[in-house]
Symmetry: C2
Subunit: 193 residues, 2 copies
């Protein structure tokens, strides 16, 4: 990801573009299952180029997570800016499903998938990134719940945890269940919020 001033030959690929491809492959298959050979094919460049641009498979994965983060950034901003309280949380849930359905078809949520794959791992780089994701999400959810003056702080925390876990279940479910079932699930999730 370094730009040289005295470049002798131009890269034949866009780093942003091949990274996006890599991200989608990791998204579909997870980290371990995705081999360098698969990445070469999907990214359309060979190992040398991958290593010169991203350092290692692990580095490429970390960049892919950042790329994913920037992809969902729009959703988070919309979510954060909304002043519709609880309703905005539900909207965010629907938006998340839409994004992963359109962008990733049946791949679920990269964060949830990675969360699962690295649950027993000791890869602190990945795990801290995942935690940061979850903390950010929880903070937004909490702020939306607090907009309802009838909820005390204990209720807010309980409901925030509930919704965070529900989001996980939702992401996993969206990979295999019908849209109608998913909609029912979301609606029922918010019935007692």
């Amino acid at each position: 990801m370094v730009a040289f001033t005295d470049m002798a030959r131009k890269k034949e690929y866009s780093e942003e573009e091949v990274l996006d491809r890599a991200m989608h492959l990791f998204w579909r298959n997870g980290y371990e299952t995705t081999s360098m050979k698969m990445l070469e094919k999907e990214m359309g460049i060979n190992k040398f180029s991958i290593y010169s641009s991203f350092g290692s498979k692990h580095g490429l994965f970390v960049e892919s997570l950042k790329s994913y983060k920037s992809k969902v950034k729009g959703l988070f901003e919309k979510f954060e800016k909304s002043n519709k309280g609880v309703e905005s949380i539900k909207e965010f849930f629907y938006d998340s499903i839409s994004l992963t359905k359109i962008e990733g078809s049946e791949k679920g949520c990269l964060v949830t998938n990675t969360y699962n794959e690295f649950a027993e791992s000791e890869d602190d780089v990945i795990k801290s990134q995942m935690e940061a994701f979850m903390i950010t999400l929880k903070e937004i959810i909490v702020s939306k719940l607090r907009m309802d003056p009838t909820k005390d702080e204990i209720t807010v925390q309980k409901q925030a945890n509930y919704l965070l876990l529900a989001k996980h279940g939702l992401a996993a479910a969206a990979r295999v269940n019908d849209p109608k079932e998913i909609e029912d699930y979301i609606e029922m999730t918010f019935q007692n919020i």
Copy 2:
């Protein structure tokens, strides 16, 4: 798993016992991440013995899933026999968490984990086993919900789907969240059932 009548030398291990060890290793790490070397160490026998008893790594994994099934069989039976309606579903949720906490400490649910790992796979043997699991569970949940005469069939189906997905989220959450948060989650899940 074949017994010979004209055995010339006795096995130095119990297939049931080494299978249980293998199952726990798969449970903790998933299929791909668990290597034959790790299995040799954990099972206490070498590759030859593993292959002569289980045919292949894949065969060993399939047997491990069956072993897991027999482990949760008791819970399913208690669940099925109970005539407490919705309350029995909640009890089953708590029982599941207890089992995975005691037996597997922080490993979650082997079915949910496998479900996630094989979501994009084309391994029909594994996938059909997972589906059978989910169908069985859904059928029991449906039968419990039907015990409430105020629920029409549409509501029963909606709530069954909801609970099935919630169970997935719960299993994933139980790997990382505190018991108190998990309890809150379960209680809130059943607030609108």
